[in-house]
């Protein structure tokens, strides 16, 4: 570990520490936006851990997220709260492994289509089980406040950044970058491409399930149609791509402006929200094809502040 790594670690820890102090300053409007940002930061960063290097676009975030909310909804009365995210992580990883083993051996397009259908598949299975057992919508009534949820998410973000940082420095990270550049070459170099991809997909799925488990007390009423809402998967992809996936901080650079933009539009044009968001997205894609990371790299290149 070089001095530079140590410095970066220290700065990241300092930044997270500062961010974690936010609830002491405000527990209302700003905290509620910050909680949304923290949620998307964790989801988009963990999404990019897998999709960034491999270029496999996953639309399965909502499936894992919904699974996590149901873990909390079913278990919060009988199990201690701290156990639920762990169970959610386990189930998320198992689901991701199953899906990954089936689809990741195939080429990218099959994967995208399957993940898009996955949330709907899981939703229908959950609904079917509920229908068979006469189980109804669940009310997650707890004493957990938004502040608690925010801190949980910040803790999760720290974990995801740490894992991402470690992966990038490991043999696994190196293998994934080769897979992303040319999968055939990777295979011929003796890399077990399927195992590497499945492993990363499991991490990303487990994280999304944990976030779902943490968010359930905020939604209070858990029903399949909102827990598995597909828009979440698309939001995560849009934010991660706006930021750029080339670097660990890329998704964060997308989440913050996008959440603020969304809030600004919701507030000032309540009747045209989706229309304006669509236009904003088109403009972003047109002006910033590589996301903010791409812009940053271009600028760095142009002004020659040295590469790495």
């Amino acid at each position: 570990m070089s001095m530079r790594d140590l410095r970066n670690l220290f700065l990241a820890a300092l930044a997270l520490g500062l961010v974690a102090l936010l609830p002491l300053y405000d527990t209302g409007y700003i905290l509620s936006i910050a909680t949304t940002m923290a949620m998307f930061t964790v989801l988009a960063t963990s999404w990019a851990l897998f999709s960034g290097p491999t270029h496999y676009i996953s639309l399965a975030t909502a499936a894992f997220f919904g699974l996590g909310t149901f873990v909390t909804g079913l278990g919060f009365q009988t199990l201690p709260m701290w156990v639920l995210p762990i169970i959610a992580a386990g189930l998320g990883a198992v689901l991701a492994a199953l899906v990954g083993l089936v689809t990741l051996r195939l080429s990218g397009v099959y994967f995208v289509i399957f993940t898009l259908g996955l949330a709907e598949l899981v939703r229908q299975v959950v609904t079917w089980v509920q229908n068979r057992t006469g189980q109804r919508g669940m009310y997650v009534l707890t004493s957990i406040t938004e502040r608690d949820i925010y801190w949980q998410l910040i803790g999760m973000a720290a974990l995801v950044f740490l894992v991402g940082w470690l992966i990038a420095r490991s043999r696994l990270g190196f293998a994934l970058r080769i897979i992303g550049n040319d999968e055939t070459v990777a295979k011929h170099s003796g890399i077990d491409t399927a195992a590497a991809k499945v492993l990363l997909f499991m991490i990303s799925g487990a994280v999304a399930a944990v976030v779902g488990a943490m968010m359930a007390p905020r939604y209070i009423y858990i029903e399949p149609s909102t827990a598995f809402a597909p828009i979440l998967s698309f939001q995560v992809v849009i934010m991660a791509l706006l930021g750029g996936t080339g670097r660990l901080w890329g998704p964060l650079a997308g989440v913050i402006p996008f959440t603020l933009l969304w809030e600004f539009i919701s507030r000032n044009a309540p009747n045209q929200t989706l229309l304006l968001l669509g236009i904003a997205f088109l403009v972003i894609v047109y002006v910033l094809p590589g996301g903010f990371v791409g812009l940053y790299e271009r600028l760095r290149h142009r002004f020659g502040s040295g590469g790495h």
Binding site: G28, Y29, S32, I33, T36, Q124, T127, W128, Q130, N131, G134, Q135, R136, G137, Y139, L141, T145, E146, R218, Y219, I220, Y221, E223, P224, S225, T226, A229, I231, E263, S266, R267, P270, N271, T273, L274
Partner: protein, 402 residues
Amino acid sequence: MKRRSLMMGAATAAILAAGITAAQAQDTIRLGAAAPKTGPLAGGADVTHWPAVRLWVHLTNEAGGLQLADGPALIELIEYDDQTNPQQAIQAAQRMATQDRVDFMVAPYSTGLNLAAAPIFSQLGYPQITGTNVTNQQPELSAQFPGMFFVLGRTGVMAEDTAQVLVDLRESGEIGSRVALVNVADAFGIEMAGISRAVLEENGFEIVYQTSYPLGTQDIAPIIDGARAAEPDAFIAWSYPGDTFALTDQAIVQNFTPSVFFTAVATAFPSYYGRFGEQAEGVMGMGGVNPDDPAFQAFAEAHTELSGQGPDFWASASTYATLEILGQAIEATGSKDRAVVMEYLQDNSNTYETVLGPVQFNEMNDNERYWTVGQWQDGVFRGVAARGRDGVSDVILKDGWD
């Protein structure tokens, strides 16, 4: 020079005039409202929620506003779209309370969005008088959120009353014991089907056909086909708006003619009669009103005049009633101080005069008087079963589709 001074004079006059108007301006009450304008529930909110909210604000301001202790106050309505998304509903409630600093907030639309926003209402001390929240959890919810009030009624009671209509019809010898029971496989449908099945079986009815279908199913034909083959006396469907229309459509196409034809949500929409016309005659559904009540007639007329469409015959009136209750609590206390108004609302001895008739909350913040089952009769969706409401009409049997 002359011209300039003339303009100066005009400008001064304008400024003075503005100053005078400002000095005379009344106090205002800022009322925030976030509900779906986009997303899956936008259609329902557009029929039931928004027109009722805007109508109350319009009529209240036209009448000079609400009377506070120090004079009248006009209502200023601030609207947001929650995109049928709990995340956005939470954020919108926060925004209205802390950024727009609204004095009061209209409760959101639908059970899920009301519950997502409940902690915000509760933490910031806003009364949440809900008009479109059907639940059975009043004891737990009112314990956790003491400022949450329930006007629309209980799911359990509605399912029981629907089953009871069949029990009464059989006792008077008008129908037999064969029932087909279907439901949309969603929290609402599953719960309602479970309760009504239990009540029917307790009363010795025979469930000759039971099935469910996923939310958003396009092809409803096999369900009607299966139900028709079982030759039931009564068909009960715990359905959502899209499938309510589709089930009726298919029943007409296949000429499925049980003596009782019941579809749940949206049967009470004016667009249901608009679509099926006289074929809707005799169809039963959730909700109902007393169309002979002058209070409802006046409400329906004003609703049509302002929004160009009539109210639905169920939750439109209860949404409107939530604001009447809030307005009466504000006027009774003469204050827009939320803590004072909240205290008044939590006092169970207070009664409110609303379009639904008198409303009073019990110790669980629950309104115990409401319509449970309605039926299309002569182009009006009349209440045929209710708890504690006058003007219940007699049930008629459905006599085919022609």
